[in-house]
């Protein structure tokens, strides 16, 4: 069955890339290069090293922004989850942020912080933070009450309960929140490069478009999507290995 699944995945890739190639050959649009043209442009980007310098630039705000969001977001989330007062005070803000189109803040950020790294880091943060905070606080609040009761029955202090029961119990969901935050951070990092100033991969995309070098533009876009998807899938695998069986093992099964 494993063989069949792999075979079908390959078949599915062949169908989609074949359709891309065919559509490019017809062509459906002057701005639609074929699959092989795009891939050879990607190979050129790799060979002349352009792509590496570009990603060094693109990943900077992403890494800084995600790091800040992770530390602040998890800290705040723990606090909100543990304290009713903080929950009342901060939860509404993050609930609104979660449903709001925060990208609309970008013009304001540019006015306030200019077009440099600071603004871009900010964009990544506002995209990544809400889901990290909400996942963390939700997970902390939903610690199985029987485990907390067990901790108290065996004379755990509040500190023991938080460190040995609440945080370990919440960590799979906190980790999932981080993954979703990184996913949103990717959106923010690219948005920042396309909207604020074209640097890194955003620069390759914008510049190639302006000189109508469409294969190169498609190649850059293809690469960023592949990178994001691979990285997020890797995180998901790590998650499965790290927290294997963590969600199970309660009474009902």
């Amino acid at each position: 069955m494993r063989g069949r699944s792999l075979y079908l995945k390959l078949l599915s890739a062949v169908i989609v890339f074949g359709a891309w190639e065919t559509a490019g050959r017809i062509p459906v649009s002057y701005a639609f290069p074929t699959f092989f043209e795009s891939m050879s442009a990607l190979a050129t980007l790799f060979l002349d090293g352009t792509i590496f310098t570009a990603y060094a630039e693109t990943l900077k705000p992403l890494v800084v922004g995600v790091a800040i969001s992770a530390v602040l977001g998890i800290g705040l989330g723990l606090w909100i989850g543990l304290s009713e007062k903080f929950d009342w005070l901060f939860s509404p803000i993050f609930v609104v942020m979660q449903s709001a189109p925060l990208a609309a803040l970008i013009p304001l950020l540019v006015m306030a912080y200019g077009i440099g790294l600071t603004s871009k880091v900010f964009v990544v943060c506002i995209m990544a933070m809400p889901v990290i905070v909400l996942n963390t606080s939700g997970a902390v609040r939903n610690t199985p009450s029987v485990l907390k009761e067990m901790g108290r029955a065996f004379l755990g202090t509040d500190r023991d309960l938080i460190l040995k029961i609440v945080i370990p119990a919440a960590s799979p969901i906190i980790f999932a929140g981080l993954r979703l935050g990184i996913s949103a951070g990717f959106i923010g990092a690219i948005l920042a490069e396309l909207k604020i100033t074209p640097t890194g991969v955003g620069d390759i995309i914008t510049y190639s478009r302006s000189i109508a070098d469409y294969p190169r533009m498609y190649a850059a876009i293809f690469s960023i999507i592949v990178l994001a998807v691979l990285f997020l899938n890797l995180l998901e695998k790590v998650e499965q290995v790290l927290f294997k069986g963590n969600q199970r093992g309660y009474a009902s099964d």
């Binding site: 599915s12 009713e84 449903s99 189109p101 959106i187 948005l191 991969v201």
Partner: protein, 250 residues
Amino acid sequence: MTVFGRRLPGMSSLILWGLLWEVVGRLGVTFFIPPLSEVLVTLFATIGTPAFTKALSETAYAFTMGVTSAIVIGVPVGILMGKNRLLDELLLPWVNIFLSAPLTALVPVLMVLFGFGMKSIIITTTLFAIWIIILNSRAGVMQINRSLIEMAHSFGASPIDAFVKIYFWAALPEILGGVRIGVIRAVKGVIIGQLLISIVGFGALFELYSANFLMSHFWAVLIVLFALAFTISEFLAFLERRVAYYAAKR
């Protein structure tokens, strides 16, 4: 939180934050934060202006079209994937890829293919919403209780009957859940689209305000947008709860 034995309503802390905003604005800490009261006055003055109504109606149009096509395409595709194993195995990897892919990167492609206009924005919105709708509809169909389907067959239901009377209803809670998340994503998509293709809707309005440093106008539009987005998501959550009652009891 409870104060003096009375429970404070959930979102009431926003009033406190509003007051803080007002104070910060009054103190003149930064040019970028005008007092809330000033923003609210601007909001009521702006809301009726042609520029605002135009931006709002353009956005609403793009949003409605985008969400509608995401639902009309997404739900049947999801249901078919849930029922047909071959189709599922062929499509699922792609749905998962696009679910987590940074779709902002695709907007430049849409711009060169479909022009700097409404069409690209609508497609951006659809792309943001559709994948989660497909995935949830699929999950909804796959979790349907086997005995429910066997019951339909044993009473002689035709395939169409089974589809309309069993599959759709049994999967409805999941489908609505997917639509709710899809709609929230669509709100973000429509704004991202407008920011990158900034000659339509609120994108154009933002350009205008930031070029002229009209801070309270800017905040007024943000408040309207956030309030609308929040209302939509709460309304859908309410709808979802109305059908979720039987989700647990199937």
